[in-house]
């Protein structure tokens, strides 16, 4: 029974953390939906309790209930890391392009500044 209560409290803390991050605008919308869904799923799984979880895992073919949880957790974490790598690649390419264009603009500003100085001097 204590384990059950600890589980539920833990899930509520996770869910609360996610909501709080959302509220403080620390998570963008696309991640927000993902994490809210995850938070609710965790809470639902804990609420199922020992018997519910056992029934559920037997139904999908797991003999030990915890294996179902581990399987889901690993699958989910794999998905998240892959997604982050993908996002990071995109962001990297974007910053590269910004750096390239920044260098070009810097040169242009320098040119304009020199040109202006030259225009001023003859007077």
């Amino acid at each position: 029974m204590t384990a059950y209560i600890i589980g539920i409290i833990g899930s509520l803390i996770v869910l609360g953390l996610i909501v709080e991050l959302l509220r403080r605008r620390q998570l963008t919308e696309k991640y927000a939906v993902l994490w809210l869904v995850i938070g609710v799923i965790i809470l639902a799984l804990t609420c199922l309790g020992q018997t519910g979880l056992t029934v559920l895992s037997r139904a999908v073919g797991f003999t030990v209930p915890s294996n179902l949880l581990f399987f889901l957790a690993i699958l989910f974490l794999l998905g998240v890391t892959l997604h982050l790598s993908w996002e990071l690649s995109r962001v990297e390419d974007e910053t590269r392009k910004l750096a390239e264009d920044l260098a070009i603009l810097r040169l242009e500003v320098e040119d304009l500044r020199e040109q202006k100085q030259r225009e001023r001097q003859p007077e």
């Binding site: 390419d93 590269r96 750096a99 390239e100 264009d101 920044l102 260098a103 070009i104 810097r106 040169l107 242009e108 040119d111 304009l112 020199e114 040109q115």
Partner: protein, 267 residues
């Protein structure tokens, strides 16, 4: 600044008409870049030289400026691919008709640039190849050589033309391929040589090679350790694989006037 980029300088060559930009990617090359720039300017008086200082922490940018080049300073190191893409973006922005990569370390002989440019008459990308014809003074051995042979064979097939030196950085890019490279030039390791050719072919560009001499570097020494060579072999193979399986929805416009910023500033 250096030569005023006249609208149709002949770039010291009888068969290429148009404005030529020589792009020199340089990362901490203060010792060599000045001499290279001066040599390019004297060999090709009508071309503009753009040195791309790739996050250099030394005096590369100042040395290049003093030698008479225009200088792009990247805020941090992006690798040769990133430096070249910045050069291509610059070329497109200012409406150049061709961009030629010449390495800062002095390996590429500027007097061979007109030969590359002449090749642009019938191709969109021209490679200065080290092993064809008079370029045969360049020697490599072991895994590095195997890698280069495999790459050459594979890319020759992709490009439907005989290529013998696909990892050469000495390349001329024509008007049609410039916007493509400005957007998609690969920035990964070896991407600037291997994958760029694949992208160009997929987009419908014609690739050719002309023989070119390689000279010893002005500064710095090439590495020849066997472990490095093996790593190179692996990475080159992976780069090739990646280039071949990647999907590229790219195409180049038929030869037409590209949109350019008119009245380029202070040139």
């Amino acid at each position: 600044m250096s030569s005023n980029s006249s609208t149709s300088g002949s770039a010291g060559d009888d068969s290429f008409r148009g404005r030529v930009l020589i792009v020199v990617p340089a990362w901490n090359e203060e010792a060599a870049v000045g001499g290279t720039v001066r040599e390019i300017l004297s060999a090709l008086p009508s071309a503009d030289v753009l040195v791309v200082s790739d996050g250099s922490t030394d005096d590369t940018a100042r040395a290049a400026k003093l030698a008479g080049a225009r200088v792009l300073e990247l805020p941090y190191n992006l690798g040769v691919g990133g430096a070249m893409r910045a050069g291509f973006r610059y070329a497109v922005r200012y409406g150049y008709d061709a961009a030629v990569q010449v390495d800062a370390d002095g390996q590429h002989d500027p007097s061979e640039v007109p030969a590359l440019l002449a090749g642009l008459g019938t191709a969109d990308v021209v490679i200065g190849a080290r092993f064809a014809g008079n370029g045969s003074n360049y020697q490599v051995r072991g895994p590095r050589k195997w890698a280069m042979t495999v790459l050459a064979k594979a890319l020759s097939k992709v490009a439907r033309t005989k290529l013998t030196d696909t990892t050469s950085g000495f390349k001329a890019t024509g008007r049609r391929a410039l916007p493509l490279f400005a957007e998609y030039y690969p920035v990964e390791y070896l991407g600037d040589t291997i994958e760029s050719l694949v992208i160009a072919v997929r987009a419908g560009c014609v690739i050719r090679q002309v023989p070119a001499n390689m000279r010893p570097r002005r500064a710095g020494t090439p590495s020849h350790s066997p472990i490095k060579a093996a790593v190179y072999l692996f990475r080159a193979g992976f780069a090739l694989l990646l280039a071949l399986i990647r999907k590229w929805d790219v195409s180049v416009k038929p030869r037409a006037e590209a949109d350019v910023v008119e009245g380029s500033v202070a040139l």
